[in-house]
Structures are given as C-alpha cells and as structure tokens.
C-alpha cells in the first residue's frame, strides 16, 4: 500500500506545465497503448479492451486539433438457454463470442492548459468494425464475419508525465450489425480505458 503514495508523488513531481511543451514543433506524433473495459449496450458481458493509438497533432487551431487512428480489440461473450417447441429435443444452450477488431479515425480537440497539468480532450470520428461472431450450440460451431462502418464519440483527460501523458478516457461506439446470431442491433457500447500517450 505504500507504493501508491510514492507513485502519486512521482507523477505529480514529474508533471509538467502544458505551456512548456505544447508549443514545441517536434512532438507532433502521438503513440498511446491503452487498456480498459468495454460494455456493450447489448446483453454481451463486460470484456477487456486493448488498443493502440497513433496520432498527429496538427498545426491547426493553435496545435489543439489532433488526428488519431486507433486499432482496438475486445471480445465480449454471452450465453443463455433458448426454448422452442419446434426443437423437440429440449432447450438449446448457447455461447456467443463476438470478437471485434476496430479501426477508428478520430478528430480530437485538446484543451491544452485548461486545467493546469491536465489536458481534457474530446473527439469523434468514423470506425470500421470487424466482427467475428462465434456461436456454439447443440455441439456445433457457427462463425459469422462481417465488417461494418460506425462512429464513436470519446472524451478523456491527460496528465502530462515525462515525455508524454497518462490518460483516462471513455468512448461510446455506435456499431450497427445484422448477423443471424446477433440480430439487428447496435453492438457498440461504452468503454473506459487508461494508457500512456507518448509524444514523439
């Protein structure tokens, strides 16, 4: 338990004022691994979320506009039992796993210096969501694959730390899908992630 206060102190002492580097021209490239949890608005259960973000801080809007591309992976699952009088052998138990690989392109507005060492940001953009829905039922496995275009909204806050920033962010994904097993639904949802954003 003594590690946490030490880490917190270290973070605060390493935090830099935003003005020190926000105007530098050499740190326009962003690279950020992130991890978190994703919860779909459907019955899919909460699942770990992993992503890698690559971005570019544009000269526009006094270097507050960034364009970022993110590749992410999460694999939520659900299971249940279905009853149908036309299935005479009894109830059908199933497990559905939806592996989603997303390629997201976002425009981010960074409120540099708005909260001291913290930089809030918000953005939005389209996403290409690649779904692989694997269903196991009655001893058989069915795999459906489909790519769909959706969009996402995101917001977060970054604490400057060393040559980058520690951040916490949240997304909302709208990703309509229409597979036999899933039905026609928005399989997107909410996620929360933490990560470290390097400035190169």
């Amino acid at each position: 338990m003594t590690v946490l206060p030490v880490l917190a102190l270290l973070v605060l002492t390493q935090a830099q004022a935003p003005a020190e580097s926000s105007s530098e021209e050499g740190d326009s490239i962003l690279l950020a691994p992130k991890a978190g949890v994703f919860k779909s608005t459907t019955p899919l259960k909460m699942a770990p979320y992993y992503a890698l973000e690559v971005g570019y801080v544009t000269p526009l809007l006094n270097r507050r506009l960034a364009i970022v591309m993110e590749g992410s992976l999460h694999q939520p699952q659900t299971s249940g039992t279905l009853s149908d009088p036309l299935v005479t052998r009894g109830d059908v138990q199933y497990t559905l796993t939806d592996r989603q690989i997303a390629i997201l392109l976002s425009a981010l507005y960074r409120f540099e210096g708005a909260l001291g060492s913290f930089t809030p940001y918000a953005g939005a953009g389209p996403g290409l969501y690649l779904h692989q829905a694997t269903t196991q039922a009655l001893g058989s496995t069915t795999v459906e694959k489909k790519g769909i275009v959706g969009f996402q909204l995101l917001g977060g806050a970054e604490l400057r730390l060393w040559s980058g920033g520690l951040f916490l962010e949240a997304h909302y994904h709208f990703a309509p899908v229409n597979l036999v097993t899933t039905g026609e639904v928005n399989i997107g949802g909410f996620l929360a992630a933490v990560g470290y954003r390097l400035r190169l």
């Binding site: 299935v87 039922a137 069915t142």
Partner: protein, 240 residues
C-alpha cells in the same frame, strides 16, 4: 488515386460478410405410413390442418441461436425447400428439429391452412443451415395426387354364398401399391374388400366377400400414403 483505390478495396473486402458452419447432408425421406417405401410418397391434398408429416433423414442438421442480442431471441431452424414441378420453401413452423440426423416436415397440401399447390411429380429436398451451408438431394420425395372413384360395379351380379367380382373405376389410382377399400353403411359394420389388381390408373379389380348384407353402401378407397376418396351410395347390393 491508387492508395484510395487500394484502401477502398481493403474496406470492401473487410466488410463482405461470410458464414462458416456445418453443411447439411440430405440422405432421404420417410413417410411413417409407409416406412419401407423409398422415396416417400406424399399426397398433395387432404391431411390434417398441418398437412402430411414425413421424416427427413440426413446429417449435420444444425439450428443456430438467432437474434440473441435483441429482445426477441429464438432458434434459427434449418430452412427446407422442396424443388420439383414447383418450388416451395416450408414455413418455419412446418419444420420440427429432432436431432442432427432427423427432422420432421409437415408438408402442406391444397387443404391445409394456408394451402399449397404442389403438382404431382418427383422433388428434390434442399436443407439450408442458417449458419452454414446447403445440402440437397434429388428425387427423394414423390408427390402424388389423391385417388378419385367415379363408379363401382359388379359385372357378374351379386352372389350371397360366393365372392362377387367388383370393378372400381376412377382416376389417379396408383399402380405401384394396393389401396385399402371399404364398404360403409350407417348402422352396419364396415366391409373390407381386398384389392386383386390395380389394372390401370383408372381401374381396380376387387371382390365382394360372400355373405355381405344387402343394402346401399358408400365406397371408400384409401391409398397407403394417406389420401382417400369416398363415393357416396356407390353400390347397392341385392341378391337374386
């Protein structure tokens, strides 16, 4: 332009849907009324309100959970289509899943609700797993018409102490099987008459058992697959 074209092609390829699952194999059909007759015969009229039930034999019949992320989940049963002189995809509620190797099919007729007009002839049966492939086998179902009796006669008259030959005339008699025939009269026991020969699709030869009581009878002819026809007041028996 080339990078945009490549990106477009990659996105199109990524978005194209695909499904991988068990591919069914169709082996045959069985009409429980004639379990040893292959292919199964099914009459295109009568039946109860669900039609005639037959069994479909095969492999890898695979229902899939359907719409499980919506508020109305269900089971996606294999889709069955009859292909012959006409093509008919059976309504979902006419397919009963027993296991991966057997399903029961309620074949609709002109008298079911809703009706279906399946012309007589040989049919293929196609099974499509909603989450997989499609299997089909030709000529495994024979749709047959119902028999119609137009006249029953006793060319040599009636003999109380001996058999009396009868000739049954009509249309769509089946020459590959023997129908069941009965004389019926209110207040009297049924009299079963045995088929001697099905001479042609329009003529059956049979005989009246000795000792059959006098009177006017209805004549009922029933084919083994289930369809029957009753000719009212078909035969008046009187002995000299």
């Amino acid at each position: 332009m080339r990078p945009y074209l490549i990106a477009s092609l990659l996105i199109a390829a990524a978005c194209s849907p695909s499904t991988e699952g068990p591919t069914p194999k169709v082996v045959g059909t069985v009409n429980p009324r004639q379990p040893f007759i292959n292919p199964a015969r099914v009459c295109n009229t009568q039946g109860d309100e669900r039609g005639w039930r037959i069994n479909l034999i095969g492999e890898r019949f695979t229902p899939v959970p359907q719409d499980v992320l919506t508020g109305d989940p269900g089971v996606g049963l294999p889709e069955v289509t009859l292909k012959g002189p006409a093509t008919l995809t059976l309504d979902r509620d006419r397919v009963l899943y027993r296991d991966a190797e057997q399903m029961s099919l309620d074949i609709p007729t002109r008298d079911t609700t809703p009706p279906a007009d399946l012309p007589a002839g040989s049919y293929a049966v196609e099974v499509r797993n909603l989450g997989g492939g499609t299997g089909e086998l030709a000529d495994i179902l024979l749709i047959v018409p119902p028999p119609t009796v137009t006249r029953v006669t006793a060319p040599q008259g009636f003999n109380f102490s001996d058999i009396s030959p009868l000739v049954v005339e009509g249309v769509d008699f089946r020459t590959d099987t023997f129908p069941v025939m009965k004389l019926q009269r209110a207040g009297a026991e049924e009299v079963e008459v045995f088929t001697l020969t099905v001479d042609s699709p329009t003529r059956v030869s049979t005989e009246l058992p000795p000792g059959t009581p006098e009177g006017t009878y209805d004549f009922m002819l029933t084919n083994p697959e289930g369809c029957s026809f009753t000719l009212r007041n078909a035969l008046t028996i009187s002995y000299p």
